[in-house]
Amino acid sequence: MSEEKKKHKKRRTATQAAASIGPMVKEFIAGTIRAKEEARQKIAFTFIVCHHEEILAALDVLPLWTENFAGICGAIRDAERFLQRAESLGLSRSLCTYALCGIGFDQWREEIGEMPPNPPWGGQVKPDFMVSTGQILCDPRAKWYQASQLYMPDVPIYNIDMPYPLFDPKRDHRDVWGYYHKYIVKELRGFVKFVEEQTGNKMDYDRLTELVDLSDRTWNLIDETYKLRASVPSVMGTGDAMNTMVPMCFRMASQEAYDFFFNLKKELEEKIAKKEGEVEDEKYRLMWGGGLPSWFALGDFNYFNSKGAVFPVETTYRMVAPLNEMDLPETKDPIERLAWKWLGYWTFWYDKARKRPGSEPDVERLINWIEEYKIDGIVMHEAFSCRTWHVGLIWQLNQLAKIYKPIPVLTLGKGGEKTVENRELPSLILESDIIDISTYSEVDTRNRIDAFIETLESVRQSKAV
C-alpha cells in the first residue's frame, strides 16, 4: 500500500445517513460478486441517470454501476494501476478516467482469467450484458462499453438513445417534445425486449408500474428532503450529498432508497429543530455550482468547514426534480411515464430561463438556488478528463455575473459619500480530476480555498445592511 493511501483519512460526515453509505456501497459490490458466483441473477454493466432502473429491477437484473466502481477506486486512491493499464492499450489519459479505470480493470481481469491482485472491494465482475447510453450528455457512456467489448467480445451491448431538446430561448420546448417522447418510448420498449431476451424473464407491467410509482414518490421525497437544507444553519453539506447520491443514483426504484431518504429527512428535521448546524460557527454559505468532485479529496469539504464555510446545495448529483412542479401529460403506461419524467427533468428550468433575459437553464438554476439557499459564493470543480459536466462552467459564471448581481456593498462615491452598489457573487473554480490523483495538489488547492475565503470575508465585511 502506498504512503499516499496510508495517510489518506476518511471525510467526516455531518449526518448519520451519509455515514451509513460506505457499507451500502460495499454491499452492492459484494452482491454482484455473490450473484456471479451463484449465477442466480443476470448482471448488467450500466450508468446512472438513464431512467431504466425500474425496467432492470422489474426484470430482476442486478445493475453494476461501472462509474461507481471507478469512483471507489478513486476514493480509496487505487485507480492509478488501472489507468496505466488502459493507457498501455492505447487509450489516452485525457479521456474519461472513470472509463479508463473500468476498461483497464476489465481488460486485466479478462487477460488473467481472474480478478486483478487485491481488487478494490472485491473487484468488478464480468457482466452478462452492458447497457450504454450517451444521451446528449456523455460520449464516454456511448463509447466505454464498445471499447470494453474488445476484451469481452461475448458480452452484448444495448445502447439506449435518450435525447432531450436543448434549450432555445426563442422556442417553447413543448413544440418538439412530442417526437422526443415517441422516440424515447420506442427506445425503452426496445430495451425491455433486449433484457427479456437476455434474462428469459417476461416483463410484468403491473410490477413495473409499482416500481415507477415508488420512484416517483422517492423523487418527491428527495426534493422535500434537500429543500430542508435551505435552513440556517446548514444541516447537511455537499460532502454528505456526495454520499447520499448513492441511494438516489444507484438504488432508485427500491424501498431501500425511499426508506433512506425518509430517515434522512427525519434526521434533518431534528437537526433543524435543534439548530444543529454542520459547523459550529457558520460564516459563509456556498453552492457547489458544477463539476463532479475529486473522489480522492472529499476531505476538502471538511477543510471548507474548518473555515466556517458550508455547502447547503449543489448542482452535482441533484438528479431529481419535483414531479408535482412539472407539467407532464398524463399516462398510465409506465414506459411512457418514464419517458415523460426524463423530458420533464431535463427541461425543468427552461420556462424560468426563458423569462429572464440572458438566462439559460444552468444559469437559471444557479440564480434560483442562490436565493433559495441564501448563498454567498460559488465553488466549481473542473475535472480535466470529463467534458460532460465540466464544459460551460466558466461561461455559466460569466453569464451569471452579467445578469445577476445580488450583493449590495457599500462603496465610496466621488464626493466621499457612501453609496450602495450591487456586485456579483465571488466564485472559485478548482482544477483536478474525478479519480486521477496525479492532477491534484492538496497544498495548492487549500491555498486557493484560503484566498477564496479571504474574498468572502471581505465581501461580508463590506456588505451593506
Binding site: S92, A99, D154, N159, Y179, K186
Partner: protein
C-alpha cells in the same frame, strides 16, 4: 507549380490564405451566411433556404486568447480554436451558426457559442446516436424542425423541392470530390495531399454552385497536368477527425511520402457520401447523415457478437480506401480530449492489424508547437515501412 494560370496556385491559394473572403463578399451583396463546424450539419437544408453554408475553420497558428475566458481547456483543441476565432470576430460576416449533436465538446458548449456570438440565428440539430428505424423517424422530425426554424429566419418556406434541388447540387459536389480523389490513385499522385486539402477546404467555404465550379476547374487543370508535383514515395493514409489545416499533411509530404487517402471530416467522411435522390428528401438526408457519414459518435450495433465483423462494420472504409489507393501505411491522428475517436484507438489498431496495414497512432493538440515531435515520430514510422 506556381504557374499563374493554375487555379490551384491562384484561386484556391488565395481563398485558402484569406479564408472567408468570398463569404464576406457575398455577405456584402446581401447573402445570408450560416456557419457550421462538423460533418453532421445538413448543409442541403441551408442551401435550400437560399443561404450560404460556411465551414468554420480553426487556425493552429493563432493562440487561444479570448476563447480562454469562456471555454475550458479540456475542450477539444480544434473546437476551442474555432470558437476562439469566432469570438475574436474572424467570422464576423456570419448571420447564424448550426451546431450538431456530434461530440461533447460541441454539444456541451452550444450555450457558450449561442450566447457569446449572439448571432441572429443559432440552431442545435439533435442527431441521433444509434441507427434504428425509430432513429430515422426521430431524425426526420428533427430535420423538419430545422427546416422550419431556418425557413422562419430567412422568411421563406423551404419546400421538399428546394431540398431535392439542393441534394442534387451537393451530390454533384460529392461526385466532383470523388473525381479529385481519383487523381491520387496514380504513383506518384497527380495532386498532392496538401493541394487536395486546400481545394476541399476552400470548397467548403463557398456556395455549393461556386464550389462545384471550382472543383470543375481544378479537375480540368489536373487532367492537363503534365507532371506530378510529387515523386514516388510511401503512400500514406490519414485516419481521424477534423484536419482543417495543411501542416500535418505538409510535414508528411516534406519527408518524401505522399498522402493519398484519408477518413477525415474535411476529407472523405464529409465529401463522399451521397444523399439518395429516389426517396423523400428529408428521409434521404436522415439516412445520409446517420447511416453514411461514418463517425465514431454514431453507435453501430454488434448484434452478432462477432469481433471481426464488428471491426469491419465500423472501420471497413479504412480497408476500402487502403486498397483503392494502395496505401502503404496509415497515421491515426487524434486530438487530445477527443472522446469519440480516443476510445476507438485500440479497436482501430486491431482493425489495422487484421488487414496488415502498418499504422502510427499520434495524439496531438491543435498547435504548431508539437510539429517537431510529430516530425520525429513520422520519420521513424516512414523508415519502418520503407
Amino acid at each position: 507549380m506556381n504557374d499563374k494560370n493554375s487555379i490551384i496556385s491562384s484561386k484556391v491559394e488565395k481563398y485558402y490564405q484569406d479564408y472567408g473572403a468570398r463569404a464576406k463578399e457575398l455577405k456584402a451583396q446581401g447573402k445570408t451566411i450560416i456557419g457550421w463546424v462538423c460533418s453532421f450539419v445538413p448543409l442541403e437544408i441551408i442551401t435550400a433556404a437560399g443561404c450560404v453554408p460556411f465551414r468554420i475553420r480553426g487556425d493552429i497558428r493563432e493562440p487561444i486568447t479570448k476563447g480562454d475566458n469562456l471555454l475550458e481547456t479540456i475542450v477539444c483543441p480544434f473546437v476551442r480554436s474555432c470558437f476562439d476565432l469566432s469570438v475574436k470576430g474572424r467570422y464576423d460576416f456570419l448571420d447564424g451558426i448550426v451546431i450538431p449533436h456530434a461530440c461533447d465538446s460541441m454539444t456541451r458548449s452550444y450555450s457558450t457559442w449561442m450566447y457569446s456570438l449572439e448571432l441572429p440565428f443559432s440552431q442545435f440539430v439533435n442527431i441521433p446516436s444509434v441507427v434504428k428505424e425509430s432513429s430515422f423517424e426521430f431524425f426526420n422530425e428533427v430535420l423538419n424542425t430545422f427546416r422550419q426554424t431556418l425557413g422562419e429566419f430567412v422568411g421563406k418556406a423551404i419546400s421538399d423541392n428546394d431540398i431535392a434541388e439542393a441534394i442534387k447540387l451537393h451530390n454533384e459536389n460529392r461526385d466532383k470530390a470523388k473525381a479529385l480523389y481519383e487523381f491520387k490513385k496514380s504513383d506518384p499522385p497527380v495532386i498532392s495531399g496538401v493541394e487536395l486539402a486546400k481545394v476541399l477546404t476552400v470548397g467548403s467555404s463557398l456556395p455549393i454552385t461556386e464550389s462545384n465550379s471550382l472543383f470543375d476547374e481544378v479537375i480540368e487543370e489536373l487532367k492537363n497536368r503534365k507532371e506530378s508535383p510529387r515523386k514516388k514515395g510511401p503512400r500514406i493514409m490519414i485516419d481521424g477527425a477534423c484536419l482543417d489545416n495543411i501542416e500535418l499533411i505538409k510535414l508528411i509530404e516534406d519527408t518524401g511520402a505522399n498522402v493519398v487517402a484519408d477518413t477525415l471530416c474535411n476529407g472523405t467522411r464529409d465529401s463522399l457520401p451521397h444523399a439518395d435522390v429516389d426517396r423523400d428528401p428529408i428521409d434521404a438526408l436522415a439516412h445520409r447523415y446517420l447511416d453514411k457519414v461514418n463517425c465514431p459518435k454514431t453507435y453501430i450495433d454488434n448484434k452478432e457478437l462477432n469481433l471481426q465483423k464488428d471491426l469491419e462494420n465500423r472501420f471497413g472504409d479504412i480497408g476500402y480506401f487502403a486498397k483503392e489507393f494502395k496505401v502503404d501505411g496509415s497515421i491515426l491522428y487524434v486530438y487530445k480530449y477527443c472522446d469519440p475517436f480516443g476510445f476507438e484507438v485500440p479497436a482501430r489498431k486491431a482493425y489495422y492489424n487484421s488487414i496488415n496495414i502498418p499504422h502510427l497512432y499520434l495524439e496531438d493538440e491543435y498547435t504548431t508547437g508539437t510539429i517537431g515531435q510529430l516530425k520525429t515520430r513520422i520519420q521513424a514510422f516512414l523508415e519502418m515501412i520503407a
